[in-house]
Amino acid sequence: MSAAYVVRRVLLFFVVVWAATTFIFFLPKLAPGRNPIVERIGMMVATGGVNSAGMQSMVDAYEAKFGLNKPLWQQYLTYLGDLSHGDFGYSLMLYPTKVVDIILVSMPWTIGLLTVSTVIAFSLGTVLGGLLAWPRAPQAIQYLLPPLFMFSVVPYYLFGLILVYLLAFQFRVFPMSGNSQYGVVASFSPGFAADVVYHSILPALSIILASLGFWALGMRAMMVSISGEDYMLFADAKGLNARRIFLRYAMRNALLPQTTTLALSLGTILSGALLVEVVFSYAGMGAVLFRAVSGFDYFTIYGVVFFIIVGVAFATLVLDLVYPLLDPRIRYSKR
């Protein structure tokens, strides 16, 4: 892996983040004749029964305060400057809490749930997929194919709804929602950890079960096409043992496209996981986003969206940098 590749890849990361933030800054401004402040104050007037006589001067005051009366390019620069040192402003619903604080509290939950379940689903699915396409694997494993196939087309959160109903409502095996016992203060004790794990099983299970099939089917197709390669026949003819052929010859080579797929689908996986949190009221960023959307808390929406974009871009960057280490054939340099 050349230094030039690393530099180029890191540069792309910044370009992606910049493009996305620019996107989400300008896109809403393109909508004709909309003024979120007028709407927000109008909403408050409507719900609060306040008389609306002074509304226009209030709107003007807020616009001056938030700098919305300045030219667009100046607003854009201020926005970029604020973002660059993590200032997302205040939450409208939970004023005076800062958006960044809300996100920092909820982010570990999302990262934990997402990482654990994706790692399990990816590794389990990959091994299963490999075995499904392996002629010498036990026949019984083929029975897994139809359910895996079915599960792979169900979005995570719809799966979550079914699991909550079955395992938390009908058979009260798992808690219905939340990420720990209500009212218990978070601490680093074994009891609290066990409680957190207990609460995370159902959300994690819906992500794992729903994505297992995706990884297994992809791996299976890859393994099938690899089985026909000459080097497989050659390894067999050399009399290598089946285990070695399976792991070193077949799995190793089929694993690489799987990793590329993982990098490409990170955004989809994260979106799915955020909605799973909504279903389980799991206190991660998905639940924060859901609440912010219902309450028109624009600053929180923007903050969460920014973190999602940076997170996905960063994870893709890491995978892209790891990829050439996995595959010695890839050098990313001009020979």
């Binding site: 992606v16 989400i24 909508a31 979005p155 719809l158 096409s225 859901f290 974009i309």
Partner: protein
């Protein structure tokens, strides 16, 4: 006609996929003719009733009858998918063919744009757009917003396919016999890629529906339409799972799973048709 039948017999996946879609269209047509969708609005029935002879799929907390909701929701969901997938693929095809066929600086610009936008999670941007134009959002606008972020993957894959074909002999022959660029793209390249484009289209439709119900499940769908995603949003919002109201969220999930299953089968069948190497193996 006979050819169509033989094609369907040789490609069972495509047949099953289309049959499932057909069933859903039948459900919509028959439902529309017999029951209608006028009861798909709030306070058209007593709230929170389980399925009964009078209310076949029960009612939700706002007093919507859920069978009419489904009858109204199925075509809306398919519409979002077809429109978002179609427009997304159209943009992707135009950009992909342009980039792959002409190469040079145009290719570099299109490729960079696709590479930069691809890693941005579409749902994140969609949430921002949908929450600002919330009140103006109709099914069609939502579909177009989704399409605006669905062209990168088709662009990349179509470009790659065109690249492998650009220097084949039949393209050169076309060029030497004085065909225009457009004629080469439409008459030489396009027909070879048709099964591939069809498979990408089906994939894009599925992705469009997924993005649509994702937005709707967050409550960001069209407010006045009983789409399947909005039904799920209201079910989550009113805690239907915690109250055991399976008839509220269960049927929309079943329909969505069938939609995704049929699209998946059709896409796989088309893939297999376009790429004979896959056929005998899996």
């Amino acid at each position: 006609m006979l050819n169509v039948l033989r094609f369907l017999r040789q490609n069972p996946r495509i047949t099953i996929g289309f049959a499932l879609i057909g069933c859903m269209l039948l459900f919509w047509l028959i439902g529309n003719a017999t029951i209608g969708t006028s009861k798909a609005v709030p306070i058209s029935a007593p709230p929170d009733l389980p399925p009964s002879a009078h209310y076949p799929l029960g009612t939700d907390s706002a007093g919507r009858q859920l069978l009419p909701v489904l009858i109204a929701g199925v075509p809306l969901t398919l519409e979002v998918g077809l429109l978002a997938g179609g427009v997304g693929l159209l943009i992707g095809a135009v950009l992909g063919f342009t980039a792959g066929y002409f190469g040079g600086p145009i290719d570099a610009i299109i490729r960079t744009a696709a590479d930069v936008i691809l890693p941005i999670p579409a749902l994140a941007v969609l949430v921002v757009i949908a929450s600002t134009i919330h009140t103006l959002l109709s099914v069609e606008i939502m579909a177009l917003v989704i399409a605006s972020l669905a062209w990168m993957y088709p662009t990349r894959t179509i470009r790659a396919q065109v690249l492998t074909m650009r220097n084949r002999a039949f393209v050169d022959v076309g060029r030497l016999s004085g065909e225009s660029h457009l004629a080469i793209i439409f008459r030489e390249l396009m027909p070879n890629l048709l099964p591939y484009l069809a498979a990408s289209f089906v994939g894009a439709v599925g992705a469009g529906i997924l993005a649509g119900i994702g937005l709707e499940a967050l409550g960001l769908g069209p407010q006045d339409k009983p789409t399947l995603g909005m039904t799920i949003f209201w079910a989550i919002y009113y805690g239907a799972t915690l109250r055991g109201m399976w008839w509220w969220w269960g049927p929309p999930i079943v329909i969505l799973v069938l939609v995704f299953l049929s699209l998946f089968l059709i896409a796989q069948g088309l893939d297999r048709y376009a790429n004979p190497r896959l056929r005998q193996t899996v």
